[in-house]
């Protein structure tokens, strides 16, 4: 399982880098999907199969399809890729890149110095996840449900069909001459 964990995490990191450096929006999204799938595998190897399945169903399967949908409707062409290329200049990413590398070095140093307490892998079954969610964390679940409900009502309100208004030419026709 250890080897699978490392392979999946490397794929996740590489795919995420490709998301950031990609110029074509759809190709970047495809890499993001790969990254999410790899994270799903990471969850699975860490003993959380339920989380892994939800990661794939909700993030990779539902939310990302909507992203692809929107980008598909925008119909970005070659001109947009050129524009993206001009934005992605050395000046833009060199500074943040160096800072991130310093942080990464620190992170690796901290991980190598502090000895981990030894991973104790326990596989969490879906039942246990449900018991925890609807036991100690019931408040969070309820709040999330309310938030989603407000989202649905808001979306319905925005997307509702407007009251029928006649075209001004038609209105004139209806009036007695």
């Amino acid at each position: 399982m250890n080897v699978i964990f490392y392979i999946a995490s490397i794929i996740a990191i590489l795919a995420t880098i490709m998301v950031i450096t990609g110029r074509n929006a759809i190709h970047s999204l495809l890499f993001l999907i790969v990254s999410l799938l790899a994270i799903g595998v990471v969850f699975f190897t860490l003993g959380a199969p339920f989380m892994a399945a939800l990661e794939v169903i909700i993030y990779a399967g539902a939310i990302m399809v909507l992203f692809v949908f929107v980008i598909m409707m925008l119909n970005l062409g070659k001109a947009y890729e050129k524009m993206e290329e001009s934005w992605f200049s050395y000046k833009a990413w060199l500074g943040p890149g160096i800072l991130c590398i310093i942080l990464l070095g620190e992170l690796i140093y901290v991980f190598t110095v502090t000895k981990g307490s030894g991973r104790q892998l326990t596989v969490i079954s879906p039942q246990e996840v449900g018991m925890t969610l609807f036991g100690p964390y019931i408040l969070g679940v309820e709040l999330a449900a309310m938030l989603l409900m407000t989202g649905i009502i808001g979306a319905y309100h925005i997307g509702r069909r407007k009251q029928k208004e006649y075209h001004r030419l038609l209105q004139k026709e209806e009036e007695p001459a």
Binding site: F50, A53, V56, I57, V68, F69
Partner: protein, 318 residues
């Protein structure tokens, strides 16, 4: 035999049998449609026209595999692979008999839902990469249809999960030793069946590829073996949904002892495949808004109600 080799053998066997069944369905569908429509159907190539599949396959292999100049090549090639991979992966969790199954996964049913939601990408990407308005329209219809029908599909399955107390398909089959779940879960079964037709975008829900409006929908630009993959993918989808219906609602490999379990499984599976084909032969295509409102206004409340009542009954009788 070495358990690893046995495992690989099972895997290859399941893969081969499923792809062969899916390819054979092309012939079965044409013959059965002909029977129900009082025609003859393909009966010239070989005995009873059985070699028609071979002829079709040879033809499709030798066709020019053309990628349009205006298409996004990489995504164009990727799209038909996704449909095959996502469907074939799901066969891994299906218990054909107590012994023949590729993996005994404790989240088997969720794995199916995950793979079917990934299958939506093949349509979206095929439509987008083709760079053609009919393909794009087909892709938009298809992805909206798959996204919304996935919701009820998942919810309708939860009734079975509540009754069996597990996502594991082996456990679900084992839990049906007294009564097959289509009796207590008849509402869930009907919703799942309808959602399954929509997921495989078969008639009457073949709106993404409605040939009278959209040329061939999302795969208008595909030819040769890439088209073949979409084509066989559709039949694989039918086989998969039928196999899942059998596993979840009709006792899987269970049956009287005079036949081995795998035969029972295949018999039940073929009954549902034939029902799929009969639906195609007999039902007209609804309008797009009818499809959507039917799903969200009828199937969604129905599956939620089913889940609620099932949960209450399970708690009450425990």
């Amino acid at each position: 035999m070495n358990p690893i080799w046995a495992h690989i053998l099972t895997l290859v066997l399941v893969l081969l049998v499923m792809v062969t069944i899916a390819a054979g369905l092309i012939y079965v569908e044409r013959r059965m449609l002909a029977v129900w429509q009082d025609r003859l159907g393909p009966n010239r190539v070989g005995p009873f026209g059985l070699l028609q599949v071979m002829a079709d396959m040879i033809k499709i292999f030798f066709k020019e595999d053309w990628i349009p100049k205006f298409a996004d090549k990489r995504v164009f090639v990727l799209a038909p692979m996704i449909v095959m991979i996502s469907i074939l992966m799901t066969f891994a969790v299906i218990p054909f008999t107590p012994l023949i199954s590729v993996v005994n996964l404790n989240i088997g049913l969720l794995f199916f839902l995950a793979m079917s939601s990934l299958g939506a990408y093949s349509i979206v990407l095929a439509g987008w990469a083709s760079n053609n308005k009919y393909s794009l329209l087909g892709a938009i219809r298809g992805s909206a249809q798959m996204l919304s029908y996935e919701v009820f599909m998942g919810l309708s399955l939860m009734g079975v999960v509540v009754m069996a107390g597990s996502f594991n398909l082996h456990d679900i089959v084992m839990a049906q030793n007294k009564v097959w779940y289509f009796i207590p879960q008849i509402v869930g079964f009907v919703v799942f069946f309808i959602a399954g037709i929509a997921e495989t975008h078969r008639l009457p829900f073949d709106i993404p590829e409605a040939e009278s409006e959209l040329v061939a929908g999302y795969h208008s630009e595909y030819s040769g073996m890439k088209f073949g993959m979409f084509f066989v993918g559709e039949y694989l989808g039918i086989t998969l949904i039928s196999a899942l219906i059998v596993t979840l609602y009709f006792g899987g490999w269970r049956g009287p002892h005079f036949l081995p379990p795998v035969i029972w499984f295949l018999i039940k599976m073929f009954v549902f495949i034939l029902i799929f084909i009969l639906m195609r032969a007999s039902l007209p295509r609804p309008r797009y808004d009818q499809l959507m409102s039917y799903g969200w206004k009828i199937l969604l409340p129905l599956s939620l109600l089913n889940l609620l009542i099932t949960g209450a009954c399970v708690l009450y009788f425990k």
